[in-house]
């Protein structure tokens, strides 16, 4: 059973569909990326998965639980957590407080979980009592990812976690993503950087014009004529 399953999902803003009939699954312990040109509907799809946008058709499952019509704020406690692109931390709160807020949907005492996470994210551990707004962009993204881990999610959806970061910190973030996947969490990453996505992902989906145009193993996707696919000149497989 996949950790996350989206079947024939159509959604958009108001009555205008942005994504059409998209199906996708994420297995536990794997990294799946969505790449595609600007305006392909990648972020829209991510927002639809986590209930920010409503599906007009289709079904979204987290393991055996149907979350299609579930209010967005109830979804994290059922195992699916979303990390938005940019401005994704509470800047006036400390690193510790950010993690505590992230643990809201978890059951019981989250202090042990927080210590466990901080022992992995060494940067954050050093800055635990600093305001998140004073962290660098890369550290803020790591904090947002760390905060998502507080509820021990089945799946994390990351919307461009390396946008605007230096190459060095992009590596840091991707290494952490791979480490998280190794613990058995399914990860879905919306990514603009094709090279990085192919390097770090197990499965890749290419969205073009609101459709899941091509998908497959990262190694298979790497052999395709990606510029042609991005420009809509190649047939879907």
């Amino acid at each position: 059973m996949p950790a996350l399953l989206a079947e024939n999902v159509t959604a958009g803003y108001g009555r205008t569909p942005i994504i059409n009939d998209i199906s996708l699954s994420v297995e536990r312990g794997t990294v799946t990326t969505i790449i595609g040109p600007n305006g392909a509907g990648k972020s829209t799809f991510a927002k639809t998965l986590v209930g920010i946008l409503r599906t007009s058709t289709g079904r979204i499952m987290v393991e055996d639980l149907d979350i299609t019509r579930m209010p967005g704020h109830l979804i994290p406690r059922n195992g699916l957590v979303y990390v938005p692109q940019n401005d994704n931390v509470f800047k006036s709160l400390s690193v510790r407080e950010n993690l505590e807020v992230g643990g809201f949907a978890a059951k019981g005492d989250t202090s042990a979980r927080m210590e466990e996470i901080l022992s992995v994210f060494t940067d954050l551990n050093k800055a635990r009592e600093k305001r998140a707004g004073f962290l660098s962009g890369g550290q803020q993204n790591l904090l947002a990812i760390a905060r998502a881990l507080m509820v021990e999610p089945k799946v994390i959806v990351l919307d461009e976690p390396t946008a605007g970061l230096s190459p060095a910190y992009t590596d840091v973030v991707w290494n952490q993503i791979e480490r998280i996947a190794q613990t058995g969490t399914g990860i879905l990453v919306v990514e603009q950087n094709v090279e990085r996505a192919l390097k770090h992902a197990d499965f890749v989906h290419i969205f073009v014009a609101g459709s899941n145009h091509v998908h497959g193993l990262a190694s298979e996707i790497a052999s395709l004529d990606l510029p042609a696919i991005f420009l809509g000149r190649a047939e879907a497989k």
Binding site: Y82, E97, V101, F104, T122, K126, R147
Partner: protein, 351 residues
């Protein structure tokens, strides 16, 4: 009691009363990010309900008002607070479900104006433009207080109430609830993505803040003995905003400083000064200009206020024995890396 001390205790009353009002607006705006431009409307409702519930039945009083139950202090005051909270729930259900920030602020201003017009023109509600008067002085009969002795007495009572409300507010802002309010203020979208029911928390914040507004209004009407529509022009909301912006948004101690600087020293102290010969009322206008300029200067040069917001130590952090961070109010330089410099093998940043 000399006139000097009468004025001093009057100022003390306004200091504590505006401290309460500032705490109420601060939890809405400073902690949760709700731009409540109708705040003075909630203050007014608290004042009217407290006054009307403590007055006897209106027949024969020369006034028209609802209630007239002759409730004793502090039941009338609590009723004023509860009434303001109920109004907040009503307003929140209508306006806050779908509107955010600027749009919500515009709707709340409109609400304030509508409420003002209704109370000003619908006489059977709270006696129209004349407002309520002859509101009983609380506990004056029990302690056999004269008009002179009532002023210091009630200033002290208001101080005690402010102390209790400050203690309660500190508990709220340091609790997980307060932390959630601040998270919503920073980014309600991210808060929702983490499982927070944003509207429910905003509603809670409105409810708590409006209770404070109602209590502050109730104290006003009992101190002065009267309350009418000239006491709460919609623009009065911005005086309370000035209190929290000057004092320090998100900091309860800063609110007391703001109440002292803005409300006590700038608004009420000059009101006791003699008029400038040939220019009656000029001091009041200068006063308003000074408050406006102060607000401008603070927003430009020190937007965090005189006493800035501090990072709260939650019980969890205290239990873990985390060291108190002496630099929480200082701007800590961002730890950044460039081109791999400073990155260790584990992806951490070197000291």
């Amino acid at each position: 009691m000399s006139a000097f001390w009468f004025y001093v205790f009057t100022l003390v009353f306004f200091l504590f009363d505006y401290f309460i009002l500032a705490m109420g607006l601060n939890i809405q705006y400073g902690e949760t990010g709700i731009l409540n431009f109708a705040y003075i409307g909630f203050v007014a409702l608290g004042a009217y309900v407290t006054g009307a519930s403590s007055l006897p039945a209106s027949a024969g009083t020369g006034q028209q008002y609802i209630m007239g139950w002759g409730l004793p202090f502090p039941l009338n005051l609590l009723l004023g607070g509860v009434a303001a909270s109920l109004l907040a729930v009503f307003v929140a259900l209508i306006a806050m479900r779908r509107l955010r920030t600027d749009y919500l602020a515009v709707v709340l201003i409109s609400f304030s104006l509508v409420f003002y017009d209704i109370t000003n023109n619908y006489v059977p509600l709270f006696n129209g433009a004349d407002g309520l008067y002859n509101v009983p002085e609380p506990l004056a009969g029990i302690f056999k207080l004269t008009t002179n002795s009532f002023v210091p007495f009630f200033a002290i009572v208001t101080g005690l109430i402010a102390l209790i409300m400050w203690w309660a507010m500190s508990r709220i802002t340091k609790s997980p609830l307060g932390r959630t309010f601040r998270a919503i203020r920073d980014d309600e979208g991210v808060a929702a993505a983490l499982g927070k029911g944003v509207f429910r928390y905003q509603l809670t914040s409105m409810l708590i803040g409006s209770f404070y507004a109602g209590i502050g209004g109730g104290l006003l009407v009992q101190f002065g003995g009267s309350f009418n529509t000239t006491s709460w022009l919609p623009a009065e909301t911005f005086v309370v905003f000035a209190v929290i912006i000057v004092g320090g948004v998100g900091n309860n101690v800063g609110l007391l400083v703001g109440a002292l600087l803005v409300e006590t020293l700038l608004i009420h102290l000059p009101a006791f000064l003699p008029d400038i010969p040939g220019h009656p009322g000029l001091i009041e206008y200068i006063d308003t200009i000074v408050v406006g300029v102060l607000l401008w200067v603070m927003l430009w040069f020190r937007p965090q206020g005189v006493v800035p917001e501090r990072i709260r130590k939650t019980p969890l952090a205290l239990l873990q024995g985390l060291k108190s961070d002496r630099s929480t109010n200082e701007e800590v330089p961002a730890m950044s890396i460039s081109d791999g410099a400073g990155v260790n093998e584990e992806g951490g940043v070197r000291d």
